[in-house]
């Protein structure tokens, strides 16, 4: 994994460099720092000809381009890059980093111990991500974008998807929460064999059905929600469930 550091303060820059090299020596020899820049244009000119996987960027760069603008430039060139911001307490903008720039993590300039552990944590996450991108296997997930952030939802955690009163707006209910997004139910029917469209308004995950009510023609899901079953779908639902 190729790492770039951009930090205008020489002491901080060397400190972070040292921490990364340390981490590489102990844990992942595959991590190498390819550029230590003090100005954002150095990073950009480097990227004209070469590539990197992970960036540590200071927010305040003492330059007309700050770390956020630099990150946006990097994103344009490489949407997959792992970006980690270095900030002081005063301008720690966690949500901005994650939602606007899809930053992986951020490091707060604090006592050396704290900063070091921040660097380690961020590097670990970046490396895991690097490995995952390399394997390029798409596990069973559904991706939802919120701003620039991409949220992966594992298919087996989904209880059901339903239509709303507003056309093309769908609601998804899963183990950790619920989501709304625009789309058509048809696009999701085939995403996994365990999903079944039991009603025009409902696509359920058969793995989470705990009860079928024949009289009212409904199914109860394991999160307590009750979904309707259409007259025609009832028989097929029964046979799908007994499989």
């Amino acid at each position: 994994m190729r790492v770039i550091i951009c930090e205008d303060h020489p002491i901080q820059r060397e400190f972070i460099h040292k921490e990364i090299v340390n981490y590489a020596g102990f844990h992942e020899p595959g991590v190498e720092v390819v550029l230590r820049a003090s100005r954002p244009d150095e990073v950009l000119s480097y990227l004209e000809y070469q590539k990197a996987d992970c960036y540590f960027l200071d927010i305040e760069l003492n330059h007309q381009m700050d770390g956020m603008a630099l990150a946006a430039e990097i994103r344009k060139k490489d949407p997959l890059a792992s970006i980690i911001f270095i900030t002081t307490h005063a301008d720690r903008l966690k949500l901005t980093f994650t939602y606007k720039l899809a930053a992986l993590d951020y490091i707060v300039k604090d006592t050396p111990d704290r900063t070091a552990s921040d660097v380690k944590r961020a590097l670990q996450a970046a490396f895991e991500r690097y490995v995952q991108i390399g394997q390029d296997t798409q596990p069973d997930i559904l991706q939802i974008t919120i701003g620039e952030r991409i949220k992966n939802i594992s298919l087996q955690d989904i209880y059901f998807i339903e239509t709303s009163s507003i056309p093309h707006k769908l609601s998804l209910y899963e183990k950790h929460g619920n989501y709304e997004f625009y789309g058509r139910m048809k696009e999701y029917e085939e995403m996994a064999p365990s999903f079944y469209r039991c009603h025009t308004s409902c696509l359920i995950n058969l793995l989470h059905v705990i009860e079928v009510d024949r009289r009212n023609r409904t199914v109860t899901m394991s999160n307590g929600a009750v979904c309707p079953v259409s007259f025609r779908a009832f028989k097929e639902l029964k046979s799908r469930l007994s499989e």
Partner: protein, 426 residues
């Protein structure tokens, strides 16, 4: 005779229920169709049994269909719409009768004229409604007034048209029509004036709320200013104490003093300053005021809140009143939940993206309590101990906007709400 009557009933059904479904934007389902057909048949049977006094089936029809549509839509306005449609029908029928009478036309032309008039009136009525729909929120009392106006108009119509004829025969005269039209128009104008006044009043009220929020914002700014002054005062004291440590050569004492006192004071003040500099970029005054009040409340409970507004936000395609209710509710929840957490933190962000505004509100939760159950969907029962939370109210507001999507979830000990507001679809 009976054949004619049932034909008439079907015609009647098409006009009245068709218009109602059209105006109230109801989807036609088999259940609804059967229910309305049943009521209509019942009314038709009544009309056959009491041909002498047509007012009985008419009143039954109005009440029964009104109840039916009220049950289907849960809107009191259904009664009003229904009465309005009836009145229009009576008028249209009367006009058609006169036209047919004058030019000696056939009964088919008569029905054609009625249909045409009703169609034109309904389309006009719907566009009129659409124009007022998002502007006026009618309180129950004025809905009652509207209903009363409609009922009294109905009575006048009845007295003018049905009473003189007596035996089911309708007297036809242009004089009558002129009176009816005049009365009808007067009522329409009155209703319009009523609506206009209500809009005005609402605007005044919104202005007032805006003013109030702005005052609150100013007050919180003053509070921050006072804190800054106190900080300056502290500053001198801090420097003096540090000097004391240095003169004694007490390095360890100086270090602990610096770590414990100086950084703490500084953090707090700088943090408040940061909050308000971020809020500066949020140009929605009502929201700004609301947030600053909530910030002060969180501060009293010593819950750290971080606010991020990286870009100028000047406008938003959601009613300010709705937005402040949603954000107020969610922030209240976040503050309430944070009281019981060991190291609470609330983050709030307004992020302008390409073509959309993303609002994020998150609060840290402890491991043990996972409030997944209050994430009510419409399919969840709202009964039980997890009631409250204001989330159903938030859902009620947000689900009305086609351009808003809302995520609620738990991620790594954070309870997160994400509200995505697309700029108006064109």
């Amino acid at each position: 005779m009976t054949d004619m009557f049932f034909l008439f009933a079907l015609f009647n059904f098409l006009i009245i229920y068709g218009s109602m479904f059209y105006i109230m934007d109801l989807r036609i389902t088999i259940k609804r169709l059967i229910a309305s057909l049943l009521i209509n048949t019942f009314v038709a049977v009544l009309a056959v049994s009491y041909p002498q006094s047509l007012w009985i089936p008419m009143i039954v029809s109005i009440v029964a269909s009104g109840v039916l549509f009220f049950v289907m839509t849960r809107k009191q306005l259904a009664f009003f719409h229904l009465l309005f449609i009836y009145l229009c029908c009576v008028l249209a029928e009367y006009i058609a009768l006169i036209v047919v009478d004058i030019f000696h036309l056939s009964i088919a032309v008569h029905s054609g004229i009625i249909l045409l008039q009703i169609a034109v009136i309904m389309i006009g009525y719907k566009t009129f409604l659409a124009r007022y729909d998002d502007k006026v929120r009618l309180p129950g009392s004025s809905q009652l007034v509207l209903l009363l106006v409609a009922v009294s108009t109905g009575l006048v119509f009845y007295v003018l048209i049905f009473l003189p004829g007596g035996k089911g025969e309708i007297p036809i005269s242009t004089g009558n029509l002129v009176i009816l039209m005049f009365y009808f128009m007067t009522m329409l104008v009155l209703i319009r004036i009523l609506l206009q006044t209500m809009i005005k009043e609402q605007e005044v009220q919104e202005k007032f709320i805006e003013q109030q929020q702005f005052t609150q914002y100013m007050q919180s700014l003053e509070q921050v200013n006072r804190n800054m002054q106190a900080f300056r005062h502290d500053h001198t004291n801090i420097l003096l104490s540090m000097r004391g440590y240095m003169e004694n050569g007490d390095m360890t004492g100086l270090k602990t003093y610096f770590d414990e006192e100086v950084t703490k004071v500084e953090h707090h003040t700088l943090y408040q300053n940061q909050l308000f500099s971020q809020l500066d970029r949020l140009q929605l005054i009502e929201i700004k005021g609301l947030i600053s009040t909530k910030l002060l409340r969180a501060d009293e409970l010593s819950i750290p809140v971080s606010v991020e507004v990286p870009e100028l936000i000047e406008d938003c395609s959601v009613s300010r009143l709705h937005l402040s209710r949603v954000i107020g509710n969610l922030l209240d929840n976040a503050i309430e939940a944070s009281v019981v957490v060991d190291n609470p933190q609330i983050n709030l962000a307004f992020l302008a993206m390409k073509g959309e505004l993303v609002i994020v509100i998150e609060n840290r939760i402890s491991d043990s309590e996972l409030p997944v159950q209050p994430l009510f969907g419409e399919r969840y029962s709202t009964k039980g101990e997890n009631r409250g939370w204001g989330l159903p109210a938030v859902r009620g507001i947000l689900s009305g906007y086609p351009n808003i999507t809302w995520n609620t979830r738990i991620d790594n000990q954070w309870f997160i709400h994400e509200i995505m507001i697309k700029e108006e679809f064109d």
